[in-house]
């Protein structure tokens, strides 16, 4: 049983282990960029659905940008 699992599960994990930690950070940064881009791919009408006006500060895509940018800082530093 252990041999089977080593070949399947731990084998996959072992291949991932070849990626250097710096590469992992790059992947995480790309993941964050993808998340923000989702918002900017959505129609403006969808973003503002349910708001009484369309002031810039109600654009939640910029909120997401700030949230993700804040999170990126510790991942770049540490």
């Amino acid at each position: 049983m252990r041999a089977v699992w080593d070949a399947l599960g731990n084998g996959v994990i072992g291949v991932l282990g070849l990626i250097p930690l710096g590469g992992v950070k790059v992947l995480v940064a790309l993941w964050f960029a993808f998340l923000v881009s989702i918002g900017f791919m959505l129609p403006r009408s969808y973003i503002f659905e349910g708001t009484p006006d369309q002031h810039w500060w109600r654009d939640v895509r910029y909120w997401a940008l700030i949230v993700i940018a804040l999170e990126l800082i510790p991942y770049l530093y540490f």
């Binding site: 282990g17 964050f32 989702i38 939640v60 949230v67 999170e71 540490f78």
Partner: protein
């Protein structure tokens, strides 16, 4: 730890204030929708604050600072990588779809999207988990609070001991703390419903921020700032060289090597928690508009960016200042409070613990009552009762779950395996739960049979891997819950997609408004959904 009079005064003001604030919202509860979803009147700022307050329990302060002490900043991933990305996904894709669907619970959505079998199984799994978890939460936090403030035998001239000791024997002092918390939660949650829970959460979060920031500032001054903290810890020896790395190498003996963090936490457990946990998403479903649901979720992300610093840094400060003095890492935070804080601030920190505890317990109680009322009682037992009937039942169940939580709390002490079993149970259901929600919201081709296949496959995978690990130690980590969650999600997804492709697609009218792309299209969907819910 001895509390001064000023500490006790602060704690008393906080406790009474929260009860008054919570019960104030009783006047707005006229229907079951008011009780379970706050009448869909919640603004974005309250949703954001409540999401964070619900997420952070008193145990997080102890456990996260303990893990920070032991493993370093890698533990911060749980509140950064394990929180903000799913919140962004939730804000843009999932919450608007669920909000537009007009549902009260996640199982209710899954029932509309797939079938009643999925709804029943999911409702039962989550209902059982939330109800059982209450006893554990009560016991663990009562235990922790009694470490902070031991109840003296002579409290109220010995009458408290005289009444409680015959019932709970040597645990009566712990149960005093449990009863104090349970009383407040039962009063304001059963009377004010979700409005009371959310509005008290806002106040509780403010207290949590004030207290936590105070202890961090004092701690950082003592260690000489961030560079002083780093210098002291790295100087402790070879075992501490990874303490300032957010990603640990794959061969790290800790439970947190980077593939487990990325695949188990970031891709499965975190989204499952933030997208599919009823206790979390219920306040978003009560948003006053779709925009408030989105903005509230992102505001939670903004607030949450500070949480890892608040709960993990005290562990690092404890390590830097008191290495060698602390035997158990979980005592790092209490030790820090004991050694560093002046009178008055200790009371604030105790209020922080109470706030963190009460906000989480009230959310769990409220969502358990919602699940059992909507997805079990209304769906399978008494579907055609008046709205007043369901409101009364919701209130009764809220009170009932608190009483059950108190009654079962001491049992946890005798059976450690119960605690472990409940935690394992959550790991078992998170993977398939996420797969069903993701494919339900994002892929219109997913069918009810595919969902059932995915649900059972995911459960079988997680239970199977868990059992195999117990028997043969198949993972390299002692506690491979992150890897088990990942494989459970993966297998569940494969089964959901495979069986869906082999079965007849759902008719468009059945899934109208329930799939992200389709919900995006037009406002008519909302009317159609409202009619379906009312019908």
């Amino acid at each position: 730890m001895a509390l001064s009079n000023i500490d006790l005064f602060i704690i008393g003001v906080y406790y009474v204030g929260v009860i008054i604030l919570g019960t104030y919202y009783t006047r707005y509860v006229k229907s079951s929708s008011d009780f379970f979803l706050a009448g869909k009147m919640l603004p974005w700022w309250a949703i954001g604050a409540s999401l964070v307050a619900t997420d952070i329990s008193a145990l997080d302060y102890i456990a996260a600072s303990g893990q920070g002490y032991k493993y370093g900043i890698v533990i911060m991933n749980f509140d950064w990588l394990g929180c903000l990305p799913p919140l962004v996904l939730a804000a843009f894709l999932f919450m608007p779809t669920l909000w537009r669907a007009g549902v009260y619970t996640i199982p209710e959505y899954l029932g509309l999207r797939y079938n009643n079998a999925v709804r029943g199984i999911q409702g039962l799994l989550w209902g059982v988990f939330l109800a059982c978890n209450l006893g554990i939460m009560f016991w663990a936090t009562g235990l922790m609070l009694s470490e902070f403030i031991p109840i003296p035998d002579h409290l109220l001239f010995g009458s408290v001991k005289a009444v409680l000791e015959p019932i709970w024997h040597q645990h009566w002092q712990i149960m005093v703390h449990v009863l104090i918390v349970a009383f407040a939660v039962a009063i304001y949650t059963s009377s004010g419903g979700l409005s009371a829970v959310v509005m008290t959460d806002v106040v509780q979060l403010v207290i949590m921020f004030v207290g936590s920031i105070a202890i961090i500032i004092i701690g950082m001054v003592h260690v000489g700032g961030l560079s002083g903290l780093e210098h002291r810890i790295l100087g402790l020896g070879a075992n501490f060289q990874n303490h300032f790395k957010l990603f640990l190498p794959i061969d790290s003996p800790s439970p947190y090597p980077w593939p487990a963090i990325i695949f188990g936490l970031a891709f499965v457990l975190a989204p499952a928690y933030w997208l599919g946990n009823q206790a979390i998403i219920q306040r978003t479903l009560g948003a006053q508009s779709e925009w408030d649901a989105k903005a509230g979720t992102l505001f939670a992300g903004l607030l949450h960016a500070l949480i890892p610093i608040m709960i993990a840094v005290p562990g690092l400060v404890g390590l830097a200042l008191y290495y060698g003095e602390i035997d158990n890492p979980d005592l790092a935070f209490p030790h820090l409070v004991h050694r560093l804080l002046p009178a008055g601030l200790t009371g604030v920190i105790f209020a922080v613990f109470l706030a963190a505890l009460m906000s989480t317990v009230s959310a769990v109680v409220d969502s358990a009552a919602t699940l059992w009322t909507r997805d079990i009682y209304k769906q399978f037992i008494a579907p055609h009762q008046s709205d007043r009937h369901y409101l009364t039942l919701g209130r009764f169940l809220t009170f009932f779950f608190v009483v059950c939580g108190v009654a079962t709390a001491p049992v946890v002490n005798y059976f450690e395996s119960i605690y472990q079993a409940i935690q394992n149970f959550l790991t078992f259901i998170q993977g398939p739960n996420l797969a069903l929600l993701v494919f339900g919201v994002l892929w219109k081709r997913t069918t009810g049979k595919g969902a059932l296949a995915g649900l059972f496959t995911g459960l079988a995978t997680s239970i199977g891997l868990f059992t195999l690990h117990r028997l043969y130690h198949i993972f390299r980590q002692d506690d491979p819950f992150l890897y088990i969650a990942w494989w459970s999600f993966f297998c569940s997804s494969v089964a959901t997609v495979g069986v869906s492709l082999l079965t007849k697609p759902p008719p468009p009218e059945k899934i109208r408004g329930l799939v992200f792309r389709l919900a995006l299209e037009d406002r008519e969907v909302q009317d159609a959904l409202k009619k379906r819910i009312e019908g």
